[in-house]
Assembly symmetry: C2
Homo-oligomer: 374 residues x 2
Amino acid sequence: MASVKNTQGTKTSQAVVDTAADAVEEFIRRRKKATINDVARLARVSKKTVSRVINNSPSVRNETREQVNDIIARIGFRPDPQARGLAFRRSFLFGLIYDNPNAQYIVNIQSGALDRMRGTGFELVVHPCDKESDDFLEEIREFVELQRLAGVILLPPIAENRALLAVLEDLDVPYVRVTAMHGAENDPPILSPQVVSRDRHGCMLAAEHLLALGHKRIGFVTGPAGYASARERRQGFNEGLSKQGLSIDPALEVEGAYSFESGLEAGLKLLDRPDRPTAIFASNDEMAIGVYRAAFQLGLHIPDDLSVIGFDDTPAAGRVQPPLTTVRLPIRDMGRAAAETLIDPEAERRASTIVSASLTVRDSTGPAETIFKP
Amino acid sequence: MASVKNTQGTKTSQAVVDTAADAVEEFIRRRKKATINDVARLARVSKKTVSRVINNSPSVRNETREQVNDIIARIGFRPDPQARGLAFRRSFLFGLIYDNPNAQYIVNIQSGALDRMRGTGFELVVHPCDKESDDFLEEIREFVELQRLAGVILLPPIAENRALLAVLEDLDVPYVRVTAMHGAENDPPILSPQVVSRDRHGCMLAAEHLLALGHKRIGFVTGPAGYASARERRQGFNEGLSKQGLSIDPALEVEGAYSFESGLEAGLKLLDRPDRPTAIFASNDEMAIGVYRAAFQLGLHIPDDLSVIGFDDTPAAGRVQPPLTTVRLPIRDMGRAAAETLIDPEAERRASTIVSASLTVRDSTGPAETIFKP
DNA sequence: TTGTAGGCGTTATCAG
DNA sequence: CTGATAACGCCTACAA
């Protein structure tokens, strides 16, 4: 109870500082987690004033603010997120919700988002889910509601699930969708904050690359129907081909499931025939590597007998033999941008952050000429 | 204010139920998030009693308990984790802390842990960190302290960092280490809850497999010095060799960094000479695939000219050409077990959960005989 | 500009 | 076994 009373006669500024300093050091010695009350007492203000300082309220005299901040720094006070959240009716947690099998993608998004979140006081809660489950929506609703999330990051493919978006709107929680940029299509574009990648453009580059190498008979392995990315990539590739008056040959198009196995199967279907294509574009690396396997099984050599392009530029792309030419997306940057959207208060612009794709040319693509058998 | 007063004359059990039912339906109609107060009012008990029911306190009459649970179920009440956390001085969050570049590993641990956590009310907060950073420890301390974590899962290699463990002990937060089982060694084993894998045993199997195929000159690519897993794997492989009176040949041992590049480099060093080994064991898949590249560069064919074994059984292992023989660890199960350790109150047994390794034989290993050049 | 009273939703204390 | 009452640490409303 060593309450320090300020002697009337000596309440010069210096004296105040001294006695306060004692109290502060006394406090630090006990090294207990400081609360807003400690700060208030030590700074000789009400806790409401401390609260104002914490929340950057403008209505605090500068002198007072400095005084408070000084104490805060000295005793190492950090407001308790739980208490704050309780009062705010909202936590300081972002939820990362996904149903996506690509580990590298998930981890990259995560680390990008966390990168941006560092120092902001927000934390990231991961929440994989099963979009085929019966209680898919209810499960997510409960998660978001119960945790009173401060924001949600949605990854493909569920970022395109309108029913899910409706739930989030209903819950009134800020959210960002990470997805492939939406091209002109039948269904209307979704107008909520999003981080979009120029998948189409990337695939256009891929098509142009193959065209430049002289390829004409080109196989295409589509992604699963219903996936925005699959649609975009197909469209982009087609656009690229169209620059030379070509287009995706229906006879040389096979739908895959973004998996190695589906790529292998598609590859066999495309290659195990006399009029096989001289090049194949697979809508992701996973499937492209499946095509590698198909080529191997058929005794075809890449890139001499067949050129292959993938999409994603996963680490594996650089490690298979031959290293895979592929479209690269800056996934980490997308994670960063997603977090940014949730953090920045003016995210209400409801705008899109756009990131572009590029082509990483490696050794899986070569000139078409060498393939002609005289 | 439609407070339902119970008419004295009609307070039969049935009447009570009826009026209560009305109030309940009335409440449900407004579909607002229910609080403990709502439950208390509707169940005609104090909120403390509701609290007791929530927390499975034994001192509640069964009848009362059922009554309360009934209301809870009907209005869909879920206690607020933030408020609960505030009162408990402890959140319902587990932290997953790691400094590990293996995306697949991270995601598998995550999904295993989340798998076990489903329905328990706990959530998982991911926290990558940089063990080389100056404020490595302080940063983690603040994270754990501020979030008042209910538990921490530590992944290799920081799961072996004693300074970090000391911090966690000091913070008095429950934690589990996921790591390779500790063999007899110089430094004393760490005696905190852990989920350990039999890396040694797995590598013994690998050695035996190569031995059985007739290999004698076997190269070994070690993991980075200081990593428990690296040490264990080496020891296990050596033990395996010793069964045939062999041991790791110092001239055929190269240290790698668990990366593709280091594997490539090690592979070149091992293979680019006349007395090259007929088989190489790399301490993880990443490096094994680097060895693939080295072999390719030197014009060696796997498995005809060289057998290769990796460790981890990452998805890539099954996709490279030829598919890689590798030691498999049930990573997801380890994640599950880690969560289990934190969830189960009797985790104080301070015991280890042990999972075993197995050998996945694919096509990268073949008989040594074929290599002899007559 | 600052402080007081009250509340956020839950649990702990200590009576009854 | 049950219930007032006071925390938990912070914020909002309303005064001063």
